[in-house]
Symmetry: C2
Subunit: 150 residues, 2 copies
DNA sequence: GCCAACTGTTGGCGTCGCCAACGAATTCGT
DNA sequence: ACGAATTCGTTGGCGACGCCAACAGTTGGC
């Protein structure tokens, strides 16, 4: 018999806040990905931004979602192929594409909204509603601090 | 003048707990990566595991760190080249490699310990010590819940 | 002795975030 | 008004991270 290798993570890692944060994020992210099914987080983010901003340039959408221009292009390509989004040259500024959600796009977005909300429930099930609020608040403050530093 | 595009994220995303979690994790992860400099999280994790477990097989190290066997191989290759770790065939079980930290490895690990601790300070600076404890606790519970579900 | 399981290794895949370069178009500075 | 700087979309690429499949060598159970 070989010595049971003690699957426990090393002490330094087990208690490391940054590791706890990134690993938990990965777990939750996995749930989200499953929930989104055929879509990725980029797709959902862009559709949400398009819905709330109305007709907007790709740059505006990317900035709103905090994603790189090149990634916006790729994700919008996907959404265009699926007919969820339309790109049109902005006549007022011919560098820009005006992006709008189609009817199918709005329907898909609502569907995803439901799936995403359902995932949030499952993701934080060990926490009470109060605790979820506390967690969100703490994360928001850390997030904001690092975001402000550009 | 073009309409200021309002860089604010869409409402649905701004308040989405899973997004808050993953984005904050990414910010902190970036700090960690900077702190580790020439090393990656895999390297630090494996060295920590090797230090705490003593001579161990790659499988044991990988299991302890929660990483895939193939990723263990790659990371140990790096560490071996840098002379921080030694691989030796286990005479008792010739399938296994016994992995041990070298003197240089121990020194490097201590150096990294310091850098990592310093990063933890900076990462969560907007939180009081109490709040950091609360955050760690909440994350640990969520993490444990999803980990137990295998 | 045989079959199942484990070990290390190679090679590959997908997501995510990021960066560089480019041409076309627009805005700014003077 | 005109050249310089900037913006926009696009393409192509990179690194980190997590994961999976296959394979040969080895070991264990039965």
């Amino acid at each position: 018999m070989t010595t049971r290798p003690a699957a426990q993570p090393p002490e330094r890692l087990r208690l490391l806040p940054s590791r706890l944060l990134t690993r938990t994020a990965a777990q939750v992210q996995r749930l989200v990905a499953e929930g989104l099914g055929e879509y990725r987080t980029h797709h959902y983010a862009l559709m949400a931004a398009a819905a709330e901003l109305g007709p907007a340039s790709q740059a505006a959408l990317g900035q709103a979602c905090g994603m790189d221009r090149s990634d916006v292009v790729a994700a919008l390509d996907d959404l265009t192929v699926r007919g969820l989004v339309r790109r049109a040259l902005d006549p007022a500024d011919r560098r820009r594409n005006t992006v709008v959600l189609t009817g199918d796009g709005e329907r898909a977005l609502h569907e995803l909204d439901a799936r995403v909300q359902e995932v949030q429930q499952r993701a934080f099930v060990p926490l009470t509603p109060d605790e979820r609020g506390v967690l969100a608040d703490l994360l928001a403050r850390v997030n904001r601090h690092h975001a402000e530093a550009e």
